[in-house]
């Protein structure tokens, strides 16, 4: 018996010895300080995997960009290829295990989420060609303070802010006399929400509820929260960094909520869910809606639908139909709001609209094997030529001032809006993920209110609106902090 037990013990001992030796060996690590990655020396014979957005691929811009870059850097053997991944792919999930792209093009809130885990590399932006051409506001969206020092993590490419889309050919014939009180040659209903509201009601009445003026899915926080911001609301305090201060009910935000409720009353129930978001393209095309609000990058989708409609109804050739569609489809700046927060108040003071926006840009993955080549790619892709081309093919509002100036029009307006603070850039913190559900719930509740039976309507008084907004703030606070 002792012989057996000692054999057993010997067996265990050998394994335990192996275990401790190799286990302890693994604890000793080489934690030597790393080096800064951008030393200016281009890595040779490397392949860069670039993540671009789907529209850029669809419209052929991305291929042009890759071809141009590969031709320019052929001598170094640097090849940029399509990362061929989902445009919303999460670097936090893929990067650490080696499956992420080297360079990413995403929205600023998506990109800045990666800075917590150091998944994207701080970029020496002063070295870039575009540095001076991009406004401070745009850079701010990509700047984070780490240990008292400012780091920039991305290069702004285009500014995403909502625009008002409307059909010029659906304006009333007499607009110049009846709907241009300020005599500036621009129809008032595209300048003032009060006028747009009045015109919407008129259209709906005249058509017996078959046609509408302004239509939008109101539950969509991205477009509806701007109405709160215009009257003093905000997402997080301290310039979007203090997540314990949530400001959807701050200032006179309830006036914005009142405006939204009034707008809903001039629509139909399609504004409660995402019906309008998806059908706006064809409904604007066939003339059911006069106007809607959305981002600049979908301009071509509206044009497509409108041109199809013209081809179907007016027997035009494809080229003519497209020309006519582009002529009649106007994307304009967001109208001004009444200071009183009452859309019936057509003669009172007005305030500028502040809308939620974002800035899309490039960032370099911290896991790339070739940071210098990646930086060269970012520099190349944000050069004057490439950004101009991007604007031509995709119709987006460039963040580069020189390109915006060259193309003029809306791109310039959007740039000016950003600088004037009329675009509230989404805060660059992870906690932004918590604002969507509470706000969407509130906005759809608000949108539904005018369609409830009179005695079931909830948001008739200022107090009720204020309370609703405060509930939103509380819910967001709970989601961010109670479990932390």
């Amino acid at each position: 018996m002792p012989r057996n037990i000692s054999a057993l013990i010997a067996h265990i001992l050998v394994l335990a010895a192996l275990l401790t030796t190799f286990g302890c060996m693994s604890l000793k690590r080489d934690d030597s300080e790393g080096q800064s990655k951008f030393n200016g020396e281009l890595e040779r014979n490397v392949t860069l995997r670039i993540l671009e957005n789907d529209t850029a691929k669809e419209k052929g811009y991305f291929k042009e960009l890759l071809d141009a870059f590969n031709a320019a850097y052929a001598e170094y053997g640097i090849v940029a290829v399509d990362a061929n991944m989902d445009q919303y792919t999460d670097l936090e999930q893929d990067g650490p295990y080696g499956y992420g792209p080297d360079v990413l093009y995403q929205a600023n809130d998506a990109l800045m989420k990666y800075t917590d885990g150091k998944h994207i590399q701080p970029i020496p932006v002063e070295q870039l060609d575009c540095y001076r051409q991009i406004s401070e506001e745009a850079w701010n969206a990509y700047t984070v303070q780490v240990n008292g020092e400012n780091y920039v993590f991305g290069v702004p490419v285009n500014i995403q802010g909502p625009l008002l889309y409307y059909r010029k050919d659906l304006l009333p014939e007499n607009w110049e006399t009846q709907w241009d009180r300020d005599k500036n040659g621009v129809p008032d209903m595209t300048e003032y929400w009060t006028e747009l509201y009045a015109y919407s009601k008129e259209i709906r009445e005249k058509s017996n509820g078959a046609k509408f003026g302004y239509m939008k899915s109101l539950f969509d926080t991205y477009f509806s929260s701007g109405f709160l911001f215009s009257y003093g609301g905000y997402v997080f305090g301290q310039g979007g960094t203090d997540t314990s201060d949530i400001g959807f009910s701050a200032g006179e935000a309830r006036r914005g909520a009142h405006v939204l409720r009034q707008l809903a009353s001039a629509m139909n129930q399609d504004c409660i869910d995402d019906t309008v978001t998806v059908n706006a393209y064809s409904m604007l095309g066939n003339g059911t809606y006069f106007a809607t609000m959305t981002t600049p990058d979908v301009y071509t989708l509206f044009v497509d639908e409108l041109a199809k409609e013209y081809m179907r109804t007016q027997d035009l050739s494809e080229a003519d139909a497209y020309a006519k569609a582009e002529e009649n489809l106007v994307a304009a700046d967001i109208p001004k709001l009444p200071a009183s927060g009452d859309l019936e108040d057509r003669d009172g003071e007005t305030v500028d609209s502040v809308m939620m926006g974002g800035i899309n840009g490039y960032a370099v993955s911290a896991y790339t094997k070739a940071p210098n080549a990646a930086l060269a790619f970012v520099d190349f892709a944000t050069s004057f030529e490439m950004i101009s081309r991007r604007n031509e093919l995709l119709g987006v509002a460039p963040a580069r001032a020189d390109v915006a100036e060259k193309v003029g029009g809306l791109s310039e307006t959007i740039n000016a809006n950003l600088e004037a603070g009329h675009i509230a850039v989404m805060p660059s913190t992870r906690a932004v993920a918590q604002i969507w559900t509470p706000t969407q719930t509130f906005f759809s509740d608000l949108a539904k209110d005018p369609f409830r039976l009179p005695d079931e309507q909830k948001y008739l008084s200022d107090e009720a609106l204020q309370k609703g907004l405060e509930t939103v703030d509380e819910q967001i606070y709970s989601a961010i902090h109670t479990l932390n």
């Binding site: 018996m1 012989r3 057996n4 037990i5 054999a7 010997a10 067996h11 394994l15 192996l18 275990l19 401790t20 030796t21 190799f22 286990g23 302890c24 060996m25 693994s26 604890l27 690590r29 934690d31 030597s32 300080e33 790393g34 800064s36 990655k37 990067g95 650490p96 917590d116 885990g117 150091k118 590399q121 701080p122 139909n268 129930q269 399609d270 409660i272 869910d273 019906t275 309008v276 998806v278 059908n279 911290a366 992870r430 993920a433 918590q434 969507w436 559900t437 969407q440 719930t441 759809s444 509740d445 539904k448 369609f451 509930t471 819910q475 709970s478 989601a479 109670t482 479990l483 932390n484």
Partner: protein, 432 residues
């Protein structure tokens, strides 16, 4: 055990020291070498990664990585999971070790009793006969251990760490004991929402299981009727529904019931006001639509199942019943139903579990709402949806894991009791 330790001879001792050595001394070459290979394999595993992984399980890492400077540190979560894997491998090794010793002792006894040791070929033959179940179950058990038990163990362990929120890799995760459970219990809003959702969750699971089960069974019986010609054709319609992936169906139904959808199109065309079937005021209509849509999705598969099982019912009994003058209903009540219930109780339980944890249905039909009176949840959310809001959406993995552990304990206790007292478990031999 004791007896073995006392009576074992030198060859058994040899196998205790080095696996397979005893077998080799008995000239069971193939088997001995296989055991030896297991031991060498385990040692190789320890030396390369096993030892590191086992240690990592306790430390969860000490060096934070910093991708900015290319410092590759420890990834706590990976260390946790690889640690669990190392423990599973070690348990497996111990099991093989024990069977190695037992095996050589069995040979010793056989030889002492005057027999001879078994040949390798004979043992292989045994694996196809008496020990057939061992051969067969080996692969599934390993697979289930790695891909099903391991994740569950991982999540249970996560409930005792601070993983989540700001603390995700590259930040280092630590063991925190019962901290998360304390946090949940201290949270005032938690309990009311939990019980409200739990109540609805049970109502949902019971109703939907009953609807799907009896729906599927009646459909199968209907299609099994003698008078039905072209069974393959008729059965193809539910199959078509079955063939379209659930998430597509759900998106389709969501659209149908939306304000701009076809149903409201006809309602407004008839001059009525559009109905918000799934909007935020629609508590019960959304719940009922959920039940019906779930039935549409699940009835085809329970029909398939019932058809398969019915084909096994003994026709002779029905002949006898018919001769005794039993009507169609009596045949169903006394022959079909007991038979089907017997062979499907386990299915009923697993369907119940599936429905209890049915994440997709309300996520797709009515996601993205927080209703008053619920803590970060809506009135159609099931526990699993709530869990998703709390953990994945909000990134609080540890809290989510703690909550799911609580839910898991409650639900599995209930279903175990039901299962153990079911006829399918207690009287397995009824029809044999």
């Amino acid at each position: 055990m004791r007896e073995m330790l006392q009576k074992a001879n030198g060859r058994v001792t040899a196998s205790m020291l080095v696996m397979g050595l005893g077998q080799i001394l008995y000239k069971q070459w193939a088997k001995g070498l296989l055991f030896l290979a297991v031991q060498l394999g385990y040692i190789y595993y320890l030396v390369t990664i096993g030892a590191r992984d086992l240690f990592g399980f306790f430390t969860l890492g000490s060096v934070e990585s910093n991708p900015w400077y290319g410092i590759e540190g420890d990834n706590s979560v990976v260390m946790l999971i690889m640690g669990v894997l190392a423990i599973i491998v070690t348990i497996l090794y111990i099991a093989i070790y024990i069977s190695n010793v037992k095996d050589v002792y069995a040979t010793q006894k056989r030889v002492e009793a005057g027999g001879r040791h078994k040949r390798f070929r004979e043992e292989l033959a045994e694996l196809l006969d008496v020990k057939f179940y061992k051969t067969v179950l080996f692969v599934p058990v390993i697979g289930v251990c790695v891909f099903n038990i391991l994740p569950v163990v991982f999540m249970i362990l996560v409930a005792f760490t601070n993983y989540g929120g700001e603390i995700v890799p590259p930040a280092l995760v630590d063991w925190v004991g019962f901290e998360n459970f304390k946090k949940i219990l201290a949270l005032g809003e938690f309990a009311p929402t939990f019980f409200k959702i739990l109540g609805w969750n049970f109502v949902w699971a019971i109703l939907s299981t009953a609807i799907n089960y009896f729906g599927g069974l009646s459909l199968a019986l209907l299609l099994n009727k003698k008078c039905v010609k072209g069974k393959v054709f008729w059965r193809a319609f539910p199959i078509l529904a079955y063939a379209i992936p659930g998430f597509i169906t759900l998106l389709g139904f969501k659209f149908m019931f939306s304000y701009g959808g076809p149903i409201n199109h006809y309602i407004t065309a008839a001059g009525h006001q559009a109905i918000g079937f799934l909007d935020l005021d629609a508590k019960w209509s959304a719940r009922i639509i959920g039940l019906l849509v779930n039935a549409w999705i699940s009835i085809p598969s329970s029909m398939l199942l019932a058809t398969g099982i019915l084909s096994n019912a003994e026709q002779s009994q029905y002949e006898a019943a018919r001769l005794d003058g039993a009507g169609a209903f009596q045949q169903f009540r006394y022959l079909t139903l007991p038979f089907v219930v017997f062979s499907t109780t386990p299915v009923l339980i697993s369907q119940f579990i599936g429905n209890f944890n049915n994440f997709g249905i309300f996520y797709f039909l009515r996601g993205g709402l927080y209703i008053d009176g619920y803590f970060l949840a809506s009135d159609t959310d099931l526990l699993i949806n709530w869990l998703y809001n709390l953990s994945i959406d909000n990134n609080y993995y540890a809290i989510g894991a703690a909550i799911s552990l609580i839910i898991f304990i409650i639900t599995s206790a209930i279903s175990l009791v039901v299962y153990v007292s079911s006829p399918a478990y207690r009287q397995e031999e009824t029809y044999k």
